[in-house]
């Protein structure tokens, strides 16, 4: 169990791993997440489930290497084993039977948790238009997969190296202004992107689901580190979410909380990179 069966580099900082986890694959549903530990001392890293295969007994994770722990995870290879792999955690997403047409918006690595939801909607025969974006062409992930499950797929890049130059929100606005009607919008990506999307959908009164990825420790409701304010109420993203009503989420608070350990995370990363360099020298 927990062996890496497949590893792919999706872009310079994003990797995909298929993990052997038969029991978890039986239970996983779109919207749920896992917690990974790379080694004995490792941090507990929450990652959304990007895909699962009940028959093969596998869970797919996609992660961006931002800090020491995700970088270390990225150094593991096929046949290596994750020290710990916990899940599926969090609430699965639910869609009303009346949902006929959905607009799915994904930014950067946020397309990874978006994909299983769109796939699910596709299986429910709901029509989905998707907008996926990235900094530049190489940062746009899962284009083929998203294309297969979307009615229309729009791509944006900040620098115009792929698709249309601009932000996902530009296309969102345009689609709405052109008179497209959506029962629901799903937006997953950086907090600032989700906030901008919600600012627009709020104006048009379109229900909007977002997925939060706050700092957490246990992932089972025990620590409360993942507190998110939704509609003035404190929720725990790990057990009440991670999907929430985006029109009610306090994104400014979430962005602030995300930065709580910035300085300490930087220190750990510097330490790690220094050690890697030393290791590199010693190993010739």
């Amino acid at each position: 169990m927990n062996e890496i069966l497949e590893k792919k580099q999706l872009n310079p900082t994003v990797k995909l791993m298929v993990i052997n986890a038969p029991l978890m694959a039986k239970k996983a549903k779109p919207g749920q997440f896992v917690i990974v530990r790379v080694d004995e001392k490792g941090e507990r890293i929450p990652l959304t489930i990007a895909d699962y295969d009940r028959e093969k007994g596998t869970i797919t994770i996609i992660f961006q290497e931002v800090g020491m722990s995700t970088k270390k995870l990225g150094t593991l290879n096929v046949d290596d084993r994750l020290h710990d792999f916990v899940g599926p955690l969090g609430k699965p997403v639910e869609f009303s039977k009346d949902t006929k047409r959905v607009l799915a918006i994904g930014g950067g690595v946020g397309v990874a948790p978006l994909y299983p939801k769109v796939k699910m909607l596709n299986e429910m025969k709901v029509s989905v238009d998707s907008i996926i974006g990235g900094r530049s062409a190489e940062y746009v992930i899962l284009e083929d997969e998203m294309g297969k499950v979307s009615e229309n797929l729009y791509i944006t890049t900040d620098d115009g190296t792929k698709g249309r130059k601009g932000f996902v929100t530009d296309v969102l606005k345009e689609l709405i202004e052109k008179g497209n009607k959506y029962d629901e919008v799903i937006a997953i990506g950086p907090l600032i992107m989700m906030k901008m999307v919600c600012n627009i959908t709020k104006e048009y009164n379109i229900p909007t689901m977002v997925s939060m990825n706050p700092i957490m420790v246990d992932g089972t409701g025990m620590c409360g580190g993942c507190r998110v304010t939704v509609g003035g109420e404190t929720k725990f993203a790990c057990v009440d979410g991670p999907a929430f009503d985006g029109l009610k989420v306090d994104f400014d608070e979430a962005m602030r909380r995300q930065n709580m350990y910035k300085d300490m995370e930087k220190k750990v990363l510097e330490n790690y990179e220094h050690e890697c360099k030393l290791g590199g020298i010693l190993n010739g």
């Binding site: 029991l23 239970k27 941090e43 089972t220 620590c223």
Partner: protein, 453 residues
């Protein structure tokens, strides 16, 4: 009992109390008058044969004393350290009527430590009867239940949600009160008995109780504790620098944030810390904050010291270590700076009024007494409730409105046949020894249930 000096120990995580030397233990044991009615045994939730083990210590048969305790208590080294003896066995000690009661807890700890130092556990694996029982949670309730079941021959598997077994003994109670090596040894001896422990298994998510029955488990014990932190619902509680005691202690104890950056999980302690609450968890958090380098640590509690639920010894130790007690003080909001970090906690003074439903005098706000304590970290330690992960995914499992699982008090069986529960998951946050007692009781009930099945 010898202890580390307060000003030395508040800078390290090593155990505070150092334990008796042999001669001290014998001397203390000789104080027991071996009275006929043995009130101490009645005062113990698991009825340890106290006068008998103390007599063995007085006779210098330390291993014999340990074995005597072990007859009814699966985890003596742990209980000797964290049991509230002053409100159990020692509170009814005949010697205590005039002067100091016999130090039963310290003697228990002595016998357990002596055994660990001197003897390799010769554990004989019991003959397995082939019947599978599942235990959910590896805290004190789960460990003691699994231990008893294994001894009776059941093929016992513990399912633990975390990556390390031990529950609150590992994530909650700090090293300086309960060295993790001791917990590890107790867990190792369970494994030698044949108990299997499956880590990273969040029951209710990866498997439900019904799945466990489908997999051939014939009975299930739920010992999932009270892990859900309570917050105060006051303004500013989501500012950066506000922790639940659970998060703060888990980061330090389980994730080893004291060893940052060698251990990559961080914790922000700050220079001035306010811990809200008056129980053992509040004391643990305050004393941990001090050890992590905080200059000023406050306990903010809305009643007076007399009503504090923490053990006397913990309060005493906290004071010795320089924790500042702000009693009859209640937080009304947490104040942040322009970047959203905690910079203070606004409190009001309280006065004690009439006795309330908890039997304690109710604190009432004193008008116009608002004042701000400058702090950069706030830790909320006002209690925990049971986690709903299992109750919400198990059909027909009845629970109290506050989340506790409802059981038959005699058998600890829940509203679901073959499913038993005990410890904090049933009672709400209580003590290690009560959870252990419940685990033992449930093991006996499970045995009866399966024998009659």
């Amino acid at each position: 009992m010898p202890e580390q000096e307060p000003n030395q120990r508040n800078k390290n995580f090593k155990e505070v109390a150092l334990g008796y030397e042999e001669n001290m233990a014998v001397e203390e044991a000789e104080r027991c008058i071996q009275c006929k009615n043995q009130p101490c045994v009645e005062g113990c939730p698991v009825h340890v044969k106290i006068p008998e083990f103390i007599k063995l210590i007085a006779n210098k048969d330390f291993e014999g004393a340990y074995q005597k305790i072990k007859e009814t208590n699966n985890l003596p080294a742990i209980c000797g350290r964290v049991c509230p003896q002053e409100s159990q066995c020692e509170s009814v000690c005949t010697r205590g009527k005039k002067g100091e009661p016999v130090a039963i807890g310290r003697l228990e700890r002595f016998a357990a430590d002596w055994h660990m130092k001197s003897n390799e556990d010769k554990i004989e694996k019991p003959v397995i009867n082939g019947r599978k029982v599942a235990v959910i949670g590896s805290g004190p309730a789960g460990l003691s239940c699994a231990g008893d079941l294994a001894k009776m021959g059941y093929d016992t598997t513990i399912f633990e949600a975390f990556h390390t077994p031990g529950g609150v003994l590992m994530y909650g109670i700090p090293e300086f009160r309960l060295p993790k090596e001791i917990v590890q040894k107790e867990i190792d001896s369970l494994k030698k008995l044949g108990v299997k422990i499956e880590m990273n298994m969040v029951i209710g998510k990866i498997l439900t109780i019904d799945d466990l029955f489908d997999m051939g488990y014939e009975a299930v014990f739920i010992g999932t504790g009270a892990g859900l932190p309570k917050f105060m619902n006051i303004t500013g509680e989501n500012l950066n620098g506000v922790y639940s005691a659970n998060e703060f202690l888990t980061r330090i104890n389980l994730m080893k944030a004291y060893d940052f950056p060698n251990s990559p999980t961080p914790v922000k302690v700050g220079k001035k810390v306010a811990v809200v609450g008056g129980g053992n968890v509040a004391m643990d958090a305050a004393r941990s904050a001090k050890r992590m380098g905080a200059e000023e640590v406050y306990i903010v509690y809305r009643r007076s010291e007399e009503e504090m639920p923490a053990r006397l010894e913990e309060i005493h130790h906290a004071k010795e270590e320089g924790i500042i007690f702000k009693l009859l003080t209640n937080p009304v909001r947490i104040i942040g700076d322009e970047s959203g970090n905690v910079k203070g906690i606004e409190c009001v003074n309280m006065v004690l009024g009439d006795v309330d439903e908890s039997g304690r005098r109710k604190p009432v706000e004193e008008k116009g007494s608002e004042h701000v304590i400058d702090v950069d970290t706030v830790i909320i330690a006002i209690g925990q409730s049971p986690n709903p992960l299992i109750t919400s995914t198990t059909e027909g499992l009845e629970k109290q409105r506050w989340g506790g699982i409802i059981v038959n008090e005699e058998t600890l069986e829940t509203s679901r046949r073959g499913v038993f529960a005990g410890g904090d998951a049933v009672t709400g946050a209580a003590t290690v020894i009560l959870a252990m007692g419940a685990g033992k009781k449930a093991a006996a009930s499970i045995h009866k249930f399966l024998s009659e099945k």
